[in-house]
């Protein structure tokens, strides 16, 4: 699908050296990750076993189960044991626990092999359900054909899933390829996932499995009418990374934001907690055929995009390695970055081209996710349209795949239905009018774009060297990324981290990494 661009004349040995450093950083972190589990991971295991719903007080059943067990032993052991002893299925067990008719801790413990063989059919069934969704997506993509050129990604954010549905249908008919439902403010900090269809959100709509289902159904219907596959996107990042990934797997989402570093830096989530959660979350995304989106675009919203451009490349290279360790192929890595350079800077457009082309050439097989300007968007909506147009031009010139369209009213309020239509029409005009511009234009040897790309790559390589020496956690404590310092034991969610006991096992991890049905 992707073309192998070589317009910057990069030193590929240098790229590979930088990549090797990132690999070392990620594998050091992986040694840490594998020793721990979290409440979110165990709740995810409950969900993968089919446990869903809430009790009378609205507390989700997966939370009730995890509150009833030793987290370090793992939900699979307790649930499997209860299945062996009671003969009930996981949902029935969860309902009994919710009614306090069953205490998982007091059920006599069976032999581990008996437990494992009792849950194996359920694990297979769950994996099969996810694989069926993956097959369905592939079938539809084959039926309608995959689009050449950038995928037009727009957000809906009304707070009411039914109002979102109207806006998403309108956007799809106008030409949107990906609909992202922005979550309600603060959901990333909730240590549970709300339940059911929701109509009251703030600055966005709650990510719930029912909301996912409703939107999926709408996009399938509109897609059938239009003869196009409309992708659905939502957000894993936060305290429920793997749980939301599992919901996305069940409801055939296609794209999910998945970035622990984003949660650490911008939501003050504890770094240990979220980096552990991220691993299982990405495994699920990988197995589901979902494209992950990483959040490097956010780095340059708070610090200078020219000065700190190398931190974006650094993080992209680390994110690539974390994704590979979770079994995500390159084609599912929507590596992120953004068009955020101060518009008053002379030749800023050339620096943007350099940065976007650099990402393109370092990750030749990734469907790069490119984010529009936000930091220097003002209430001058007319100027904003032009800033977004320049962003669209760089998107096409540097062959970015997932293009998040800038909106007229960025930073003013959540988009009007008309803002989205305007954004799509402008993007379609530019992408069609400049369709082959990437093939037609080369960059001047040793010119501004070449020199800028080389400088950023060299700085990224040197920063990766530092991180390799100090470790990722230390780097985050020092505030290297986005100028934000986070302590290793600070932030939200550390109380949900547990060391795995010798009895611990996660039966889904094994299957997801094997990439096949047992």
């Amino acid at each position: 699908m992707m073309k192998g661009w070589n317009k910057l004349n990069l030193d590929h040995a240098l790229v590979e050296r930088a990549r090797a450093k990132a690999r070392k950083i990620a594998s050091d972190m992986q040694n840490f990750i594998e020793k721990y589990t979290t409440t979110a991971i165990e709740r995810t295991i409950c969900r993968l076993f089919g446990i869903d719903g809430v009790n009378e007080e609205g507390i989700p059943l997966p939370n009730i189960i995890v509150d009833n067990i030793d987290v370090g032993v793992g939900a699979a052991v307790y649930l499997g044991n209860a299945i062996v002893t009671t003969g009930l299925n996981p949902q029935q067990i969860a309902e009994k626990v919710a009614k306090k008719e069953l205490d998982l801790k007091t059920v006599p413990l069976s032999d581990v092999d008996v437990i494992k063989s009792a849950i194996l059919p359920l694990v297979k069934e769950s994996a099969e359900k996810i694989r069926r969704n993956r097959a369905e997506r592939n079938k539809l993509l084959e039926k309608y054909g995959e689009k050449d050129g950038p995928l037009l990604y727009v957000i809906v954010a009304t707070g009411n899933i039914y109002e979102d549905i109207i806006q998403a249908s309108s956007a799809a008919r106008k030409g949107a390829d990906i609909i992202a439902v922005i979550r309600s403010t603060g959901q990333s900090l909730m240590d549970y996932v709300p339940y059911g269809a929701t109509t009251q959100g703030f600055g966005g709509t709650y990510a719930t499995q029912e909301n996912f289902r409703l939107m999926r159904q709408t996009l399938d219907e509109v897609g059938e009418e239009l003869g196009r596959y409309i992708r659905l996107c939502n957000y894993c990042s936060g305290l429920c990374m793997p749980e939301i990934a599992a919901m996305g797997a069940f409801e055939r989402l296609d794209v999910m934001l998945n970035d622990a570093l984003y949660g650490i830096l911008f939501r003050d989530i504890n770094m240990q907690r979220t980096i552990i959660d991220q691993h299982f979350s990405r495994m699920i995304n990988g197995y589901s055929g979902i494209i992950i989106n990483t959040g490097e675009d956010n780095y340059v919203k708070t610090v200078d995009a020219v000065e700190q451009a190398h931190t974006v490349i650094t993080s992209q290279l680390m994110n690539e390695q974390f994704a590979l360790l979770a079994g995500i192929p390159e084609g599912q890595m929507g590596i992120g970055h953004a068009f955020e350079i101060d518009p008053s800077i002379k030749n800023g457009f050339l620096y943007e081209i350099a940065q976007a082309q650099l990402s393109r050439e370092i990750f030749p097989n990734s469907p790069l996710k490119y984010m529009p300007p936000t930091r220097y968007i003002t209430g001058d909506i007319f100027m904003g349209c032009v800033q977004n147009a320049l962003f669209n031009i760089v998107t096409r010139m540097t062959d970015q795949k997932i293009c998040l369209l800038g909106m007229l009213t960025e930073a003013i309020h959540t988009p009007f239905i008309s803002d989205r239509a305007i954004a799509i029409e402008i993007a379609q005009y530019i992408f069609n009018n400049m369709d082959s511009i990437a093939e037609e234009f080369e960059f001047k040897p040793h010119g501004i774009i070449h020199q800028r790309a080389i400088l950023v790559l060299e700085r990224a390589d040197s920063l990766l060297g530092e991180i390799e020496k100090q470790g990722l956690f230390k780097t985050l404590e020092l505030g290297i990324f986005a100028g934000i310092k986070r302590p290793i034991n600070g932030g939200k969610g550390l109380d949900g981290v547990y060391k795995k006991t010798p009895e611990y096992f996660n039966p889904f991890m094994e299957i997801f990494m094997l990439k096949e049905v047992l």
Partner: protein, 266 residues
């Protein structure tokens, strides 16, 4: 789409809120009344200007106005971008559906209609009249290339067209129309200030009446500010606003001429 979700939406109180007697702008939620507007005030960019702008938009019927941008354009001029929620509404049950709108025929159908009903070519004379120098309006309708993939009238084999261009004085326009024995006159007014287009259009009608040919021709005006209602008020047979293409105009005048002919023969 609506059908499938109507029930669920109703349950969620969505469609219940839809009231045809109370139609308001839609931002991202039904009945939110959200509008965006921009304007310039002839005063310096001070806090006084900010308050003035807010008071003005409140007078326009906007509640909760929010100035998202303001900047000085000159010492005594300030530009604003404002969002707010409009309190006004319209009752669409009181607005009759426009049944008079014609479904435009295609170029081939129009040519065939003329061949069948008129036998000869129809003569169309068009111009941008008065001081207006813009030809895009008349060209969109008349030139071979046309507009948005719709060929102009010059392309129609059963039409004899004369595009006189821009800044054509009304006297000159009337003289040409008589010389060419026009069936249809097309008058374009693109850019206008202080309603000069109204004076100019009225003056043309007076001249045509003085020459005694007003009733012999189909008189049509068009332009960004022209509406069907304005055209009728000024004594034109029809008026066409923005986004009009040649088929719309031609469908109108062939039917109008045909109606007049049939009335004359009966």
């Amino acid at each position: 789409m609506m059908g499938k979700y109507l029930k669920e939406m109703k349950e969620m109180g969505f469609r219940d809120k839809f009231d045809p007697k109370n139609i308001k702008p839609y931002g991202d939620t039904l009945n939110d009344g959200k509008v965006q507007l921009s304007f310039t005030l002839p005063i310096a960019n001070t806090t006084q200007a900010t308050i003035a702008a807010l008071k003005l938009v409140e007078k326009m019927g906007l509640i909760d106005p929010h100035i998202v941008f303001q900047k000085s354009l000159e010492t005594d001029f300030t530009f604003f971008v404002v969002y707010g929620q409009v309190v006004h509404y319209v009752d669409i049950t009181k607005i009759p559906l426009q049944s008079e709108q014609l479904t435009p025929m295609s170029m081939d159908e129009i040519n065939a209609f003329i061949k069948e009903h008129f036998i000869r070519k129809l003569v169309i004379v068009g111009a941008t009249t008065g001081t207006d120098s813009h030809t895009m309006g008349i060209d969109a309708i008349m030139s071979m290339k046309g507009y948005h993939g719709h060929h102009g009238l010059e392309r129609y084999e059963m039409l004899e067209t004369h595009n006189l261009g821009s800044q054509v004085m009304n006297e000159e326009f009337v003289r040409k129309s008589i010389d060419l024995q026009a069936d249809v006159l097309l008058v374009s007014q693109t850019v206008t200030q202080k309603r000069i287009h109204v004076q100019n259009l009225t003056n043309l009608v007076e001249l045509l009446e003085a020459e005694g040919i007003r009733k012999k021709i189909v008189l049509i005006c068009g332009g960004a500010r022209i509406t069907k209602e304005l055209a009728k008020e000024l004594g034109y047979d029809a008026g066409f606003g923005p986004n009009t293409v040649a088929e719309d105009v031609a469908t109108y005048f062939i039917k109008e001429l045909w109606n007049r002919n049939s009335q004359n023969t009966t």
